[in-house]
Amino acid sequence: MTLLSAPVEYVPTGRLRISDVPRLTRRHPLVSAGSGLLALLIILALAAPLCAGDPVNMDPFKRLQPPSAEMWFGSDNLGRDVFARTIFGARISLMVGLLSAASAAFAGLLIGVIAGYSRSFDNVVMRVMDGLMSIPTILLAIALISLTGPGIGILIVAIAIPETPAVARLVRSVVLGVRERPYVEAALCGGARLPKVLWRHILPSTIPPLMVQGATVCANAIMTEAGLSFLGVGVPPEIPSWGNMIASSRLYLAMAPLTIFAPGICLAVTVLAVNLLGDGLRDLFDPRAKRRR
């Protein structure tokens, strides 16, 4: 009798040892490319003060200079060093991206697990989520930010809120699926109480899809921040972020292209890295993808 059902969700195949890394990178090019690139960007952002000048000091007389030895990418409309701002901008954009992804993932996880497990709570929550999802992200963000004035904190909240329903819906479907799996019933038979079942048997299987969704949310967050800054409600002007750099320098496309392309390319590369990581993680965790590749 061939075994009836191959395992559906990710099955860890033994301990992960450092010696595995070369083999894994060859097997999962997407994950290694994505995480490598992302690691590089994070290091760049953290080491910003070392390798870049002062992103904030203004010198109106040296406005819109072409790239020079002193300022590698030239200066922007307020005479600030574009290279320094691009690197410092990495901090804000990555922080906005990662933090809103994390908060959306956490909130989504919480709501999803509870909705997945208690029927009554489920209906109420799903209707609220529908409502929340129906308000376009950009407009919700604009309304929220105009409520309290621009700032990174509110920006992260404004980006995280519209992303939470998607995560909650994903986690809920995973929990509903896993709840029926025999090993959860076996744990119940063994006398395990609800919190232990949730923590030890149900939550771990929500982590892989959550990481994949997290990558997408992070990519969305960085893009939304850029979009909001373009509409003038994003990160406050003196704090350099790729979004508000692109937004404020779009008039100088012809005169000083680097002011828009430097942050633009960094933005695209970061979002690309996060998406590569997301795609790679999805293939890594989806056993069916492994069988087909």
Binding site: R127, M133, I135, A143, S146, A226, L231, N275, L276, R288
Partner: protein, 313 residues
């Protein structure tokens, strides 16, 4: 089926009410109000207070809400504080460009997105798959306005094939209408082609590994019929879902595209209204958008029955 639709329509109204209340409160708490804007930069605080009085903005919130809600029930979305025109009229003026842009974008995104997805799934693991997946990831990674300005720079300025901005209503002739919408549609479609292609590829790969595909092969079915006849219809449900989601997300993208290409659509109307704190317009548009969104979801759910006989309501 009828009871299901009834239940869904009722929940649509509920969602719209919820959105209405949420937006109403959100705006009232936001700093600044229409009186400031109308009075102009050189008005003294007293003048502003006077205008606020006349506009009835300092009545207690509850009364304002009730007044507005009653208006809604009567189908009157209130009048725009800034232009004095009924909100419904302002929105209907701006509907045609937004709907044209959204429809063309969805049509373009679905046709190209789905065919990319199917092709990538069929050639899974091969070069074609890698290229299409890379494009999909890239398409998803570039902000809409960067794509927009790039296309303007290239097509409108450099080689002057297409107009830079503006919108020609369709009754001025199909030609100018389409020509003006080409660049904005392509700009807005790039992220959605990527989004739909990724989901289409994933669901096609899922279906191609099912047992009944092996049965079809054992019957001697050709590659074409296996792909488009057997597999695509089974992958229909997830693809329809992603199309529904794209429609919903479109409103956000439309706002930026209308700004870049100067299309007088609803997106632009809302952004200006937010800058002018023109509450009635903001509330009106957001409610209509949320209602539209939930109805789109209902349409998508009902369309499932066309694709998959197992789904009955």
């Amino acid at each position: 089926m009828a009871t299901y639709i009834l239940r869904r329509v009722v929940s649509t109204v509920a969602v719209m009410v919820m959105v209405g209340v949420f937006v109403f409160l959100l705006l009232r708490l936001a700093p600044g109000d229409p009186a400031d804007i109308i009075a102009g930069p050189r008005a003294t605080p007293e003048m502003i207070a006077g205008i606020r009085e006349q506009l009835g903005l300092n009545q207690p919130l509850a009364i304002q809400f009730v007044h507005w809600a009653l208006g809604i029930l009567g189908g009157d979305l209130g009048t725009s504080i800034f232009t004095g025109r009924p909100v419904l009229e302002l929105i209907s003026q701006r509907l045609e460009p937004t709907i044209s842009l959204s429809l063309l974008t969805i049509i373009l995104s679905v046709t190209i997105g789905v065919s990319f997805g199917v092709l990538a799934a069929w050639r899974s693991g091969g070069l074609v798959d890698r290229i299409l997946t890379a494009f999909a990831t890239l398409g998803f990674s570039v902000p809409v306005f960067v794509v927009g300005f790039f296309l303007i720079y290239l097509f409108a300025i450099r080689i002057r094939w297409l107009p830079v901005q503006g919108y020609q209503p369709i009754d001025h002739g199909f030609g100018p209408w389409v020509v003006h919408l080409i660049l904005p549609t392509v700009t807005l479609s790039v992220p959605y082609i990527a989004f739909i292609a990724r989901i289409a590829r994933a669901s096609m790969l899922e279906v191609l590994s099912e047992d009944y595909m092996r049965t079809a092969a054992a019957k001697g079915a050709s590659a074409y019929s296996m792909l488009f006849h057997h597999a695509l219809k089974n992958a229909g449900v997830p693809i329809l879902t992603v199309i529904g989601l794209s429609f919903a997300g479109l409103i956000g993208g439309v706002v930026i595209t209308e700004t870049v290409f100067n299309i007088p659509g609803v997106g632009r109307l809302v952004v200006d209204a937010i800058n002018n704190r023109d509450y009635p317009i903001i509330q009106g548009v957001l409610i209509l958008v949320s209602g539209l969104y939930v109805l789109i979801n209902l349409a998508v759910d009902l369309s499932y029955t066309l694709v998959d006989p197992r789904i009955r309501y």
